[in-house]
């Protein structure tokens, strides 16, 4: 501001407290002051007139200065890849604005398959979203955007006050909150399990028992033989029983772990099956070492004998390979036999070892043999879309629940037409519909299910039924999915 400070000082303090004198003004202005003073009726009028003259003089003489210490913001490096069309960028932003997080992630994944970049115009909104604290999929979005935003995105991040892509460099594990650590670790286990384990080991001892338990649970993602030594150490040395139990749980879910091998050895020769007489069992005495192996001595069910309970615990912790040897047949046959005539009936639950080992084939054979609701709920999620087509289950009014495990958003799986139809019939029996479910179903449903959806809408006597709106919503999301498939394609111009 070039305006003489005396004008501002007088204006701030008031003419009652400070007399205004036109000192230090350019000659042209100084000369005008007595003239204005002569015309005005009081001091304030003179001041206002003179002030407006001075401001007009200053503004009408404005000149942009040459600045020595000012540098323009640097330029972003050139891109080597080409851009998707603007329409694709608009679609991503609209998915973000509509909070369609499943579709947005799907679009990112599809885009990441192409050798192209998101047009720069649309990056700020998407980058901001990827770093939002409450975004549940921020780490995956960050990984995908790092590829899709190119050099411009990398250059833009610091300009927007956001951390750079390589989170390991910029995000400090020691200062991250517990939720952030969990998300970070889960994400890292998906992409680089060894690095995840290394990160977990850095500072685990200083966490509270509950936090340790939560973090160790993250190892379930990408669990491998390399984790066994660490988990065994935790299972024996940690000061919290809860954490020890969590480590043992993970060890139990590794078919080739020492713990599972011990279970197999303990159970071997203790079970006998005869076609005519059914199951018989040899007694196994409970020893103090079994407590270390996480085996209980007394059953909470009074109808179950304790000695059989001990054996049942072991039977529910051994993999399919054990039963293959036991029955001396193929895995498929073993699974079928075990499902049809399980030991320790009615207490034995075949779903427990299958979900524990996440054994897809075992789940498939079991469901082929017996597609009961209990099995469908817990095992269907393990199957591939092709395998699901073979499972025949009928929708009923009582069974409308869709477990989250049925959806595999990371793999972009499309279900077969038979399974899609069965799921649709199943969910249409439900009185409750959520937007999230519609979005997830739209991503998984077979494209041909659209006809069935339209048919349902047209058939309804009562158009305002919730199921009609739900079907319309699924149809809309399916249309958006089709649009994503068209736009995020290397051949689309």
């Amino acid at each position: 501001m070039n305006v003489n400070e005396s004008i501002i000082n007088t204006a701030l303090l008031g003419t009652a407290n400070r007399e205004f004198t036109p000192d230090g003004f350019p000659e042209a202005l100084a000369k005008a002051f007595p003239l204005l003073q002569g015309q005005a009726g009081n001091t304030e009028e003179t001041f206002y007139r003179f002030a407006s003259l001075v401001f007009a003089y200053q503004q009408a003489g404005i000149e942009p200065p040459v600045t020595q210490n000012l540098e323009p913001i640097g330029e972003a490096p050139e891109e080597e890849k080409s851009y998707f069309p603007a329409e694709a960028g608009e679609l991503l932003v609209s998915l973000h604005t509509d909070r369609s997080r499943y579709l947005l992630l799907y679009a990112y994944r599809q885009a990441a398959r192409c050798n192209r970049l998101i047009p720069p115009r649309y990056l700020p909104e998407l980058l901001n979203r990827a770093f939002e604290k409450n975004n549940p999929t921020k780490y995956e979005e960050q990984t995908l955007l790092a590829r899709l935003s190119g050099q411009r995105g990398r250059w833009l991040l610091p300009q927007m006050g956001l951390p750079t892509w390589n989170s390991a460099e910029t995000t400090d594990w020691s200062t991250a909150s517990h939720t952030e650590r969990k998300e970070w670790l889960s994400h890292l286990r998906e992409t680089n399990p060894e690095e995840g384990l290394r990160l977990l080991q850095t500072d685990l001892k200083n966490d509270s028992a509950q936090h340790r338990e939560d973090l160790i649970q993250c190892l379930a993602i990408g669990l491998n033989k390399g984790d066994e030594a660490f988990l065994e150490e935790i299972a024996t040395t940690d000061r919290s029983n809860g954490v020890k139990e969590k480590a043992r749980q993970l060890l139990r879910s590794m078919p080739d772990s020492k713990l599972v091998t011990t279970y197999c050895e303990l159970l071997r020769d203790k079970l006998h099956y005869h076609t005519l007489f059914g199951w018989s069992y040899d007694k196994l005495d409970y020893t103090p070492e079994m407590k270390q192996l996480d085996l209980e001595e007394v059953s909470s069910n009074k109808k179950e004998k304790d000695e059989l309970f001990l054996l049942r615990q072991l039977a529910e912790r051994v993999p399919l390979s054990f039963w293959t040897v036991f029955y001396n047949c193929t895995p498929e046959k073993a699974a079928e036999k075990l499902t049809r005539k399980p030991p320790f009936a009615p207490f034995f639950h075949v779903q427990l070892p299958i979900t524990l080992f996440q054994d897809r084939q075992w789940a498939y054979y079991t469901l082929l043999t017996q597609a009961e609701e209990e099995n469908i709920i817990s095992l269907m999620g393990l199957l591939t879309p092709e395998q699901r087509e073979d499972i025949d289950f009928q929708p009923t009014r009582q069974h409308t629940y869709l477990p989250a495990s049925w959806f595999h958003p990371c793999t972009n799986e499309t279900w077969g037409i038979k399974f899609s139809g069965r799921v649709l019939q199943r969910i249409l029996q439900s009185p409750y519909y959520t937007r999230d479910t519609a979005e997830q179903l739209a991503l998984c449903f077979h494209p041909d299910i659209k006809e069935e959806l339209e048919g349902h809408i047209n058939l309804q006597q009562e158009p305002a039924q919730a199921s009609t709106g739900f079907c319309r919503q699924i149809l809309e999301y399916m249309t958006q999915k089709e649009k994503i498939d068209i736009l995020f394609n290397d051949h689309h111009k």
């Binding site: 501001m1 305006v3 004008i7 501002i8 204006a11 701030l12 303090l13 008031g14 003419t15 009652a16 407290n17 009081n42 304030e44 009028e45 001041f47 206002y48 007139r49 002030a51 407006s52 401001f55 007009a56 503004q59 009408a60 003489g61 404005i62 000149e63 942009p64 200065p65 040459v66 600045t67 210490n69 000012l70 540098e71 323009p72 913001i73 640097g74 330029e75 972003a76 720069p120 115009r121 990056l123 700020p124 901001n128 411009r152 250059w155 833009l156 300009q159 927007m160 809408i457 009562e462 158009p463 305002a464 009609t468 319309r472 149809l475 809309e476």
Partner: protein, 442 residues
């Protein structure tokens, strides 16, 4: 099939709020409507809402107006917007049919109302010039009395000093602004109200406030000596005070036919009235123009211009000193494209700014176009820098900055800005000959 010559952007302008736009776009799908029909006068449809009976929505397509049986208090409702958007995009979805009773009744009622109004207008007595002059003189006296009070208030304000104004700004100017409304000087009232919205957290508030208050004083003083001013200045001062200029008089003035590029659009809601300001630039005339549109909620604006588009039309400028405000005599969307003539550097732009302010010190927002500038930053302040190394501090919305950097990647771009007394505000840019703008709505 009757044509609704409206773009999606124009239809969106009819919406009462952003939520209605979103909901309306959601309903612009065939699946949402169980009936879609049209006649020569109207389009109508049945939209299945949450109730048993579908909502009946009708639109008068000749004098865009809506009616819907839904209970929404918004006007137009999402169904009306959805139906119009659907018709604009896919007229082929609509089937020609006879107007049903409910459509016919509503259209008949509208026609009856319009006829009554027309009759009333025909019966209106011719202008009584003597009475008009008497009313003008009475208003002039009213304004003078108002100005007397205003000057006394300004004098008191200055006597006590402006130091404590920031903490009282919220209510300090209200009473005097209301007094100016009573005195039929709405221009002065608006200037006082604007003082309330100033950013008093900014270090420059004292300069801005002193400048604005002294300008208000100068304006009131100028009005007191209106008769001694040249004709142009008389118009200018009367307009600044808040006297309207008759539309017929403006349209009777010389018109400027040109291709007009819409540089920027600013929308504000003032007392439930949608106020839109469009800054335009003429290809041949190389003149800036400001077109203002005021519409009640639900009413169709006379012109809805889309930023970045070019319109072929004749404009008539208001009377005044270096007038910028205009009315359209004719206007139609053109398919041609051109780039405006930009100032080569900041020095040239500053020269234009100086010239305008020398001619009219009351000018508040001076439109400027500058090419080959880059963004620079020093602490929290942003600057526009040209290739000669000169820089001007600018004001840039926080939401615009990442977009601008994202588009330009730090390279040079051309800019449209509005230069005020203390700040130059960036509004739209051209990068690689492509125009980019940001919504300016409140």
């Amino acid at each position: 099939m009757p044509l609704v010559n409206l773009t999606e952007e124009q239809i969106v302008q009819l919406a009462p709020d952003a939520a209605s736009v979103k909901a309306g776009k959601g309903l612009a799908a065939k699946a949402k409507w169980v009936l879609l029909e049209f006649s020569e006068r109207a389009i109508w449809g049945h939209c299945q809402g949450s109730g048993k009976v579908p909502y009946q929505t009708v639109i008068d397509i000749h004098h865009i107006a809506f009616k819907c049986s839904c209970p929404s208090r918004k006007f137009p409702c999402k169904h009306g917007l959805g139906l119009l958007l659907l018709y604009a995009a896919h007229p082929d979805f609509f089937v020609q049919a006879e107007e049903p009773e409910w459509v016919n009744a509503w259209l008949a009622k509208r026609e009856e109302k319009a006829e009554k109004q027309e009759q009333k207008a025909r019966q209106e007595a011719p202008v009584d010039e003597a009475a008009q002059a008497k009313r003008q003189a009475a208003r002039h006296q009213k304004v003078l009395h108002g100005i007397e009070d205003l000057q006394m208030w300004l004098t008191d304000l200055l006597r006590n000093g402006f130091l404590h104004i920031p903490e009282q700004a919220y209510s300090l100017f209200d009473d005097m602004a209301r007094r100016m409304v009573d005195a039929q000087a709405p221009g002065l009232a608006l200037r006082l109200k604007n003082l309330q919205e100033m950013n008093y957290l900014n270090e420059s508030w004292k300069y801005e406030l002193t400048n604005r208050l002294s300008k208000i004083y100068l304006l009131s003083e100028a009005y007191k000596h209106l008769e001694q001013q040249p004709a142009d200045w008389q118009h200018e001062i009367r307009t600044l005070i808040g006297y309207p200029q008759a539309k017929e008089e403006i349209l009777a003035r010389e018109s400027f036919a040109d291709y007009w590029l819409v540089l920027h659009k600013r929308s504000r809601k003032v007392n439930d009235l949608n106020t839109c300001a469009y800054w335009l630039y003429g290809q041949q005339t190389e003149r800036f123009a400001l077109y203002m549109s005021f519409t009640a909620p639900g009413a169709m604006p006379e012109q809805t211009l889309v930023p970045g588009s070019i319109y072929e039309g004749e404009l008539c400028f208001y009377q005044g000193v270096r007038p910028i405000r205009v009315l359209f005599k004719s206007c139609r969307l053109s398919e041609m494209s051109f780039l405006p003539v930009f100032c080569k550097n900041l020095q040239e732009a500053a020269g234009r700014y100086r010239q305008i302010l020398q001619d009219n010190p009351f000018a508040t927002e001076i439109p400027l176009l500058i090419e080959r500038v880059r963004l620079a930053q020093q602490e929290e302040q942003f600057f526009l820098m040209d290739s000669t190394g000169r820089a001007m501090p600018i004001c840039i919305e926080e939401s615009i900055r990442p977009d601008l950097l994202s588009i330009t990647g730090g390279k040079a771009f051309a800019v449209f800005l509005l230069a005020g007394a203390t700040t130059w505000r960036l509004h739209s840019i051209w990068y690689s000959s492509t125009y980019y703008f940001w919504k300016d709505e409140r």
